[in-house]
Amino acid sequence: MDAVIPFSPDELEAIRLSLKVATIGTLASLPVGAFAAYALARWRFPGKILFDGFVHLPLVLPPVVTGYLLLILFGRRGPIGAFLESTFGIVFSFRWTGAALAAAVMGFPLLVRAIRLSFEATDRRLEDAARTLGANRFLVFLTVTLPLALPGILAGLVLAFAKALGEFGATITFVSNIPGETRTLPTAIYTYTQVPGRDANAARLAAVAVVLSLLALVISEFLSRRITARIGG
């Protein structure tokens, strides 16, 4: 019965905020992630193993530790946080932007892994062909490598988005649980479970989380099939 009752303003706020945080966090990490993936797939450089490990760190660290490190680095008194605030006026701590940053960091390893795989799978002979037709390395990347890697990039985006949508530990540690600012779906669900008589709210939001995650998967599967069909597998 509860399920048919319209969402409360608090619930809607949490859903909207979650979508915003996950979307912006994922999209903002895409250029950095694509660059890291390209470097890992194609370049040989000193410290590559270390860099690879660093990229994967959020995947293996307890999320609370990641959140704590973000707090130390990007908090208002943290070295990076203080610099960003004084030069660009960007504040992360206890803002939705901080939640987006936490979401981006947590999804980053998944994003990089998927994109890296598709860069590694790209036919280098096609890139050579493009070079002999006059394209410099940057144009080869833009006109051949990137379009051919599109299904992988899409898969990475969806994985990172789903991860960002469900991100809890790092977010709550870094930017806390402020209604309307940093209370995303998972933190809202957690909050409801802590209050007697709010089980129905928690259940409804949990259902929303399931639907959103499934939707993301279905959309990405659909898009990647269309792209693969176009490219020709």
Binding site: R125, L126, D128, A129, A130, R131, T132, L133, G134, A135, N136, L139, T143, V144, P147, L148, R230, I231, G232
Partner: protein
């Protein structure tokens, strides 16, 4: 050109010069034909040597000259055509012009007519037959304003009927192109029909250079 390169346990050491419009590289597989093509195209850097087409020096190890692949204007038709799968035929054809910022222009019509490609423009490479693919690859190379053409076994992956289908196009190409063409093959018949000078290769060395009599 003269080129030396060690690739693993394979040593390439060749030297030849040709004034013919069409020079053929002839030899069994593993003779180093494709390595030579790659060296001329700029996809493989020799350890020592000198590569020049006409007055243009593309590589000279003594003078430390090595023009990068995308600036050489030496266009290659690869054995496996290497068409871009995400672009249709027309987009593949004008890729080189598009990269250079040139419009398709009349050149596209001209080349499409020469190679019989007009009907294929909107198709994707995977929807083409092997012979059509190679014709598009030849057109793509021609449209990219080449100063030289390298054809690396363009017929090797085709069956006999498809070969017969393409050879007339190649003959027309040879008759109309005003640029040096290097034609790589291990098929004597193709070479006798197309080339003026034949460079025989084996085991990474030049065995002989012959003129073809017509």
């Amino acid at each position: 050109m003269a080129v030396q390169k060690t690739l693993g346990d394979f040593a390439l050491d060749v030297r030849f010069r040709s004034t013919a419009a069409v020079t053929a590289l002839f030899g069994p597989s593993g003779a180093g034909k494709t390595s030579i093509v790659n060296a001329i195209a700029g996809l493989l850097t020799p350890e020592r040597g000198h590569i020049a087409i006409g007055d243009a020096v593309l590589f000279d190890s003594k003078k430390r000259i090595s023009v990068s692949a995308h600036r050489r204007r030496v266009r290659v038709v690869f054995q496996e055509s290497r068409l871009f799968p995400h672009l249709n035929v027309r987009q593949n054809l004008v890729y080189g012009r598009w990269i250079a910022g040139h419009s398709a222009g009349e050149k596209l019509d001209e080349v499409a007519k020469l190679l019989g490609l007009e009907a294929l423009f909107s198709r994707r490479p995977r929807a083409l037959s092997g012979g059509e693919r190679q014709r598009v690859a030849i057109g793509r190379a021609l449209l990219a304003d080449p100063t030289a053409l390298l054809l690396d076994e363009p017929l090797a992956s085709l069956d006999a009927a498809r070969k017969q289908e393409i050879i007339p196009y190649l003959e027309r190409l040879v008759a109309t192109a005003r640029i040096p063409i290097l034609y790589v093959s291990h098929a004597r018949e193709e070479i006798e029909r197309l080339a003026g000078t034949v460079v025989m290769l084996d085991g990474g060395r030049v065995k002989a250079v012959e003129e073809v009599k017509r």
